[in-house]
Symmetry: C2
């Protein structure tokens, strides 16, 4: 219980952050949670369905009531998802050691002791090349658009919920350019950081 | 010549960045340059005195001529120092492997191939404690003022000359919180990064 440790990984789109996190968790022999797994956990949990109901029962607010202000409908659903995901993240942190990708986990666990907060980045050209290859996008300008669009979504999401700059160095323990050592080299290097910190 | 590598280290005040850089250079057996050494090098070099003269001989500019615009006098001297320092940094990078602290070296060497760009940071409370101990400042609020004032100077200097955010993750290869592993632990960890990258 008290010896659990959590690695949170934020990442630029196309930096290989998710793959790095997955391989890191495998090497450390700990759990790995990305967006879908946390969403699934939220769906499964009775507490979180309750939380959704509670959110539903809040007094109508002109800023969040979809009937009064239709544009905010998505925002309201996002809020509820963010709250349930945050609750799931806090429960995970109590239960087990794991790697958590995205979902503002570094912010959610900001009061938690055994957390290493990592951010993976890479030069734009490398990220475009990576995304082009991964999704078979043949036109570089299209791949670039996709990279910038996804960065924008992540930035907007993170900044909305944390009031902090996405990908900023604030409160991060390690920010690393994955192009320097490559995916596997970066995994090994971060594993060293974890080993040194937690004597794993 | 072609196998030289340079480690640039930016750092928050009180993060131990300079000490880390010095110990890293010792362990790697390469040169170490901080502000004073680079200034001294600039003074010694004939080329740089020439450069100062050239700067002096530039056509009067209402934005930089101290007689037309007194407030810019300091700025003009700073500009000349920045140019000479930048020249010295580029010469160093051609001549030898070394660690360079501050002086916007990451920006100056942005086109240089064998450069690792590192930034050292630490939580504010840790930096205040460090500065209090180092300079025997007994009142914590005074130490805090000193830390924030020096950060402000570095931010202002960096942003003025590079048009980039100081301490931002942009273009950095590694940003690390020195409180996680401590000074010596951080030195060893960064040395690993250098070894892996340059097979030193």
């Amino acid at each position: 219980m008290g010896n659990n440790y959590i690695i949170t990984i934020g990442r630029e789109y196309g930096s290989g952050g998710c793959e790095i996190g997955k391989k890191l968790a495998e090497k450390l022999g700990i759990g790995f949670y990305d967006k879908n797994l946390i969403d699934a956990a939220a769906e499964k949990s009775g507490i979180h369905i309750d939380m959704l109901h509670k959110a539903d029962e809040k007094p109508a607010n002109p800023l969040t009531n979809p009937f009064l202000h239709p544009g905010y409908e998505a925002g309201t659903i996002n809020d509820r998802l963010f709250w349930t995901q945050s609750e799931v993240i806090r429960e995970l942190a109590e239960k087990e050691s794991c790697v958590i990708i995205g979902r503002c986990a570094d912010f959610v666990l900001r009061e938690h002791e055994n957390v290493l907060k990592i951010f993976i980045q890479a030069p734009l050209a490398d990220r475009i090349a990576r995304i082009s290859e991964k999704y078979l996008i043949e036109i570089p300008s299209e791949a670039k658009k996709e990279v910038l669009r996804n960065d924008k979504l992540r930035r907007s999401y993170y900044q909305f919920y944390t009031d902090s700059k996405w990908g900023g160095r604030d409160h991060k323990d390690l920010v690393i350019n994955s192009s320097v050592l490559g995916i596997d080299g970066t995994v090994d290097f971060i594993k060293d950081f974890v080993d040194r910190k937690f004597n794993t």
